[in-house]
C-alpha cells in the first residue's frame, strides 16, 4: 500500500521529464532557437515534480500515525478512561492496534473492537487520501511545468536553482544536527549542574560517581570532579600521539620520497589494512601482549608497573592511529606540485633537504588535518581504554599507572539500569559536553597555527 504513492511519484517524474522534453523538442523542430537544451526542460519538470511530491509523501508518512492515534483515542466512549495515567492510555492504544491487526487475546470489550475497526478504516482512508493527493499534486505540477515551456524559458537556470536549493538543504543538515547535539547536551548538562555545583565539577579532584540509587541503599555520597578523568584522557592521548606522529610522519615521508616502488606497493595496502582493524582487536593486543611486556620490562629494571597502564593503552592506540597520519601526510606530500621538487633538486638540494625545506612546509595543512583527526580519534577512543587502561579515576600523569578516560566514564555511567534524573547519569552528559568543548578548542587552535605557518603553493 505504501509502495503505491512512490510508484506514482516515479511515474509522474518520468512523465514530467518526457512531456517537457518533447514539448521543447517540437518547439525546436519548428525552427525556434531554444534558450536551454531540451534535456534541461525535461529535468526542470522532473525536479519540479520530484521535490515537493516526495516531501508530501514523507511528511504524510511521518504524521499519519500520530494523528490517527489521536483521532481514535478521542473517539472512545466518554468517561471510560477518565483519570487514567499516561501508561494506561498507551496500553489501551497498543491493544486496539493489535486487535486491528487481528491479534486478539482473550475477549476484549466491545468498545475496543469498535475502536479497532475505526482505526483500520482510518488507516485505509488515509492511505487512499495520500494516493489521491499525490496524484492530484503531481498532475497539477506537470500541467504547470508544461505550460512554462517556451523558446525563451530559462530551464537551465531553473534546474540550477532547484539543485542549488537541494545542496543548501543538504549542507545545512550537518549544521542543524550539530546544533541539535549541542542543545540536548546543554540541556542535560544544566540539569546536572542543578545537582552538582559547577565549581565541584570543574575543579574537583575526585571522581567517584557511585551514589545511592534507592533510599534504603547504603553508599557514600558521589564525588564529581572531572579533573582526574580528563587528565587520564590527556595522558593516553599524549602517549598515543607520541607513538603515532613520528611513526606516521616518517613512514609517510619514506613511502612518498625514498621507498622503492615495490616496497611502497606492499606497505601502503598494509597500512590501510591497519586502519580497518576493529578497535576491540587492538584492545586484545594491548591486554594480552603489550601490557604484560611492559610489566615484565618494568619488573626487570625494578619499577613497579600497574597491570593496566596508560602506556599500554596509549601505545597501542598510537599504532592504531599511524595509518591515519601516514595516509593524510602521504596525500598532502603527493599533492605538492612536482615543479617545486624540480626547483629544489635543480638548485642542488638533496632529497632530504628538499623534503624538509620545501615539500614538508608546503604539505603542512594536510598533515595537520591528519594529526587533528588522530587527536579526535584518540580522545574519543573507548574500547582500547576499557580493555587496557582500567576504570579507576586517578589524579596522575604517570603513564605507568592505570587511568580512565572521559569516554570510558561516559559508557560506564550509562550502562545498566539508569534513570535520567540522578547526578550519576546526568554526569555523563556533562562529561560529553566538556569533551565536545575540548575537541572544539583543539581544532580552532590547530587551524590558527596552520593559517599562520602554512606555505601556500597555489
Amino acid at each position: 500500500m505504501t509502495a503505491l504513492p512512490f510508484l506514482l511519484l516515479i511515474l509522474a517524474t518520468l512523465a514530467g521529464y518526457l512531456l517537457n522534453r518533447m514539448a521543447a523538442g517540437s518547439i525546436r523542430a519548428n525552427g525556434a532557437r531554444l534558450h536551454s537544451m531540451i534535456s534541461y526542460h525535461g529535468m526542470f519538470a522532473a525536479l519540479l515534480v520530484l521535490v515537493p511530491v516526495l516531501t508530501i509523501i514523507l511528511l504524510w508518512l511521518a504524521f499519519e500515525g500520530p494523528i490517527i492515534d489521536r483521532v481514535v483515542m478521542s473517539g472512545l466512549p466518554d468517561g471510560l478512561l477518565d483519570g487514567q495515567g499516561d501508561g494506561a492510555l498507551q496500553l489501551v492504544l497498543a491493544e486496539i492496534k493489535s486487535i486491528s491487526r487481528g491479534q486478539i487475546f482473550g475477549t476484549p470489550e466491545d468498545w475496543k473492537i469498535a475502536a479497532a475497526d475505526s482505526y483500520s478504516a482510518l488507516r485505509t482512508q488515509s492511505d487512499w487520501w495520500m494516493v489521491a493527493v499525490v496524484a492530484g499534486v503531481s498532475l497539477a505540477i506537470i500541467g504547470f511545468a508544461r505550460s512554462r515551456v517556451t523558446a525563451e524559458f530559462r530551464a537551465r537556470q531553473g534546474v540550477e536553482r532547484i539543485v542549488s536549493g537541494l545542496m543548501i538543504f543538504c549542507s545545512t543538515v550537518a549544521v542543524f544536527t550539530t546544533i541539535g547535539i549541542i542543545v540536548s547536551l546543554s540541556y542535560e548538562t544544566v540539569r546536572f549542574l542543578d545537582r552538582v555545583p559547577l565549581s565541584e565539577f570543574l575543579f574537583g579532584t575526585n571522581w567517584e560517581p557511585q551514589i545511592p540509587l534507592r533510599e534504603d541503599q547504603i553508599a557514600a555520597e558521589g564525588a564529581f570532579g572531572w579533573l582526574p578523568v580528563i587528565l587520564g584522557t590527556m595522558v593516553i592521548t599524549v602517549v598515543a600521539l607520541f607513538v603515532a606522529i613520528p611513526v606516521g610522519l616518517l613512514s609517510a615521508i619514506y613511502l612518498n620520497e625514498f621507498a622503492p616502488r615495490k616496497l611502497r606497493a606492499v606497505i601502503k595496502p598494509v597500512l590501510e589494512i591497519l586502519a580497518g582493524v576493529p578497535t576491540v582487536v587492538y584492545g586484545f593486543f594491548a591486554v594480552l601482549v603489550v601490557a604484560p611486556a611492559i610489566r615484565d620490562l618494568g619488573q626487570s629494571i625494578g619499577i613497579d608497573v600497574a597491570p593496566n597502564t596508560a602506556l599500554a593503552a596509549g601505545g597501542v592506540m598510537g599504532i592504531m592511529l599511524v595509518p591515519f597520519i601516514s595516509s593524510f601526510a602521504d596525500d598532502a606530500l603527493s599533492a605538492v606540485p612536482s615543479s617545486l621538487r624540480d626547483a629544489a633538486l635543480g638548485l642542488g638540494s638533496t632529497r632530504a633537504e628538499m623534503m624538509t625545506t620545501v615539500l614538508f612546509p608546503a604539505a603542512i595543512p594536510g598533515i595537520v588535518g591528519g594529526v587533528l583527526l588522530a587527536v579526535s580519534r584518540a580522545i574519543g577512543e573507548t574500547m582500547i581504554v576499557v580493555m587496557a587502561a582500567g576504570l579507576i579515576a586517578k589524579m596522575t600523569i604517570n603513564p605507568l599507572d592505570s587511568v580512565t578516560t572521559v569516554t570510558v566514564q561516559i559508557v560506564t555511567l550509562l550502562i545498566g539500569d539508569t534513570s535520567f534524573d540522578n547526578p550519576k547519569t546526568l554526569a555523563a552528559f556533562a562529561l560529553g559536553m566538556m569533551l565536545f568543548l575540548v575537541t572544539l578548542m583543539i581544532n580552532v587552535f590547530a587551524l590558527r597555527i596552520v593559517r599562520k605557518y602554512r606555505e601556500a603553493y597555489d
Partner: protein, 265 residues
C-alpha cells in the same frame, strides 16, 4: 663540408665545457633523443632551437641529470663536464646540480618569501657566512635577475604572489644565487614582456663573461641576439650545430632552413 671544417677550427680555440657523445634518451619506449653529439663551450651562450616536442627540454635536463627524477626516463651515452662523465656512479648528482644550475620552462618559485627563495641555494650550500653576507648575495642576485627594483620593498612577501614574468625573473635570480658554472635556461623569456626580456638577455650576455649558458628558445630573434652557438633539434635528432650567424644566414640542412624561415614547426 667546407663549412663544417671551419666550425671545427673555431671549436678548438675555446675550451669545451660540456661534451655529449652518442646520447640517447628513452621515456619508456619513446625514443626522445637520438644519438646526439654536441660540444658546449665555456663562456659562450648556446641556443637550442627546434619545433615543440623535438626534445630540447629533454636534452637540457640530461645536462644536470634532472632526468634522474623521472622514473621511466633512461639516458645512455656519455656527457662530460670538464672532461668528467657526469653519469659516472661516483658523481653526486646533488653537487653536479649545484654546478649546473637550471631555470625551468614554467616559473616555479617556492611558496616562501622572496628573500628565502633567493637565499635557498646559498643556504643549503653554505655560501654565506652570516646574515650580512646572505643579504648581499640576495640583493646582488635580484639585481642581476632584473627584478630588484620591483621587489626591494617587499622581500618578505611570498614569491608566489608575484606576476608570472616577475616569478620567472625571481627563478633566474634564484638560480644564479648559487653561482653555478653552467646555467641551463628552458625558455626563460616565454612569460616575459619585451622590457623584461631585454633585461634578461642583457643578463645572459653578462653571465657569458664567467659562465657557460645554454638557452632553449622558440624565438629566432632571441637566439640570434643572445647566442654565439646554435643547435637545431628536430624529432629527437640534432640536425645542425654551429655558429649562430652561420645557422641563421646559411644553414646547411634543408630542415634547418625551412624551420628558420617558418615552414616547419
Amino acid at each position: 663540408m667546407y663549412d663544417t671544417a671551419k666550425t671545427e677550427s673555431a671549436l678548438e680555440q675555446t675550451e669545451t665545457k660540456i661534451s655529449a657523445r652518442n646520447v640517447q634518451v628513452y621515456y619508456g619506449d619513446t625514443h626522445a633523443i637520438k644519438d646526439v653529439n654536441v660540444e658546449i663551450e665555456d663562456k659562450t651562450v648556446t641556443a637550442f632551437i627546434g619545433p615543440s616536442g623535438c626534445g630540447k627540454s629533454t636534452f637540457l635536463r640530461c645536462l644536470n641529470r634532472m632526468n634522474d627524477t623521472i622514473d621511466i626516463c633512461r639516458v645512455t651515452g656519455d656527457i662530460l663536464l670538464d672532461g668528467e662523465d657526469i653519469y659516472d656512479p661516483k658523481v653526486d648528482p646533488v653537487q653536479l646540480r649545484a654546478k649546473v644550475g637550471m631555470v625551468f620552462q614554467k616559473p616555479n618559485p617556492f611558496p616562501k618569501s622572496i628573500y628565502d627563495n633567493i637565499a635557498y641555494g646559498p643556504r643549503i650550500h653554505g655560501l654565506a657566512r652570516g646574515k650580512a653576507e646572505l643579504d648581499e648575495i640576495v640583493e646582488k642576485s635580484l639585481r642581476r635577475g632584473a627584478i630588484w627594483d620591483e621587489v626591494k620593498d617587499r622581500l618578505d612577501a611570498p614569491g608566489t604572489g608575484l606576476s608570472g614574468g616577475q616569478q620567472q625573473r625571481l627563478c633566474i635570480a634564484r638560480a644564479i644565487a648559487t653561482e653555478p658554472e653552467v646555467l641551463l635556461m628552458d625558455e626563460p623569456c616565454s612569460a616575459l614582456d619585451p622590457i623584461a626580456t631585454a633585461q634578461v638577455e642583457e643578463l645572459i650576455d653578462e653571465l657569458r663573461q664567467s659562465y657557460s649558458v645554454v638557452i632553449v628558445t622558440h624565438s629566432m630573434q632571441q637566439a640570434a641576439r643572445v647566442s654565439q652557438k646554435t643547435a637545431f633539434f628536430h624529432l629527437g635528432n640534432l640536425v645542425e650545430y654551429g655558429e649562430t650567424g652561420q645557422i641563421f644566414t646559411n644553414p646547411e640542412d634543408p630542415r634547418t632552413e625551412s624551420y628558420i624561415t617558418g615552414r616547419i614547426g
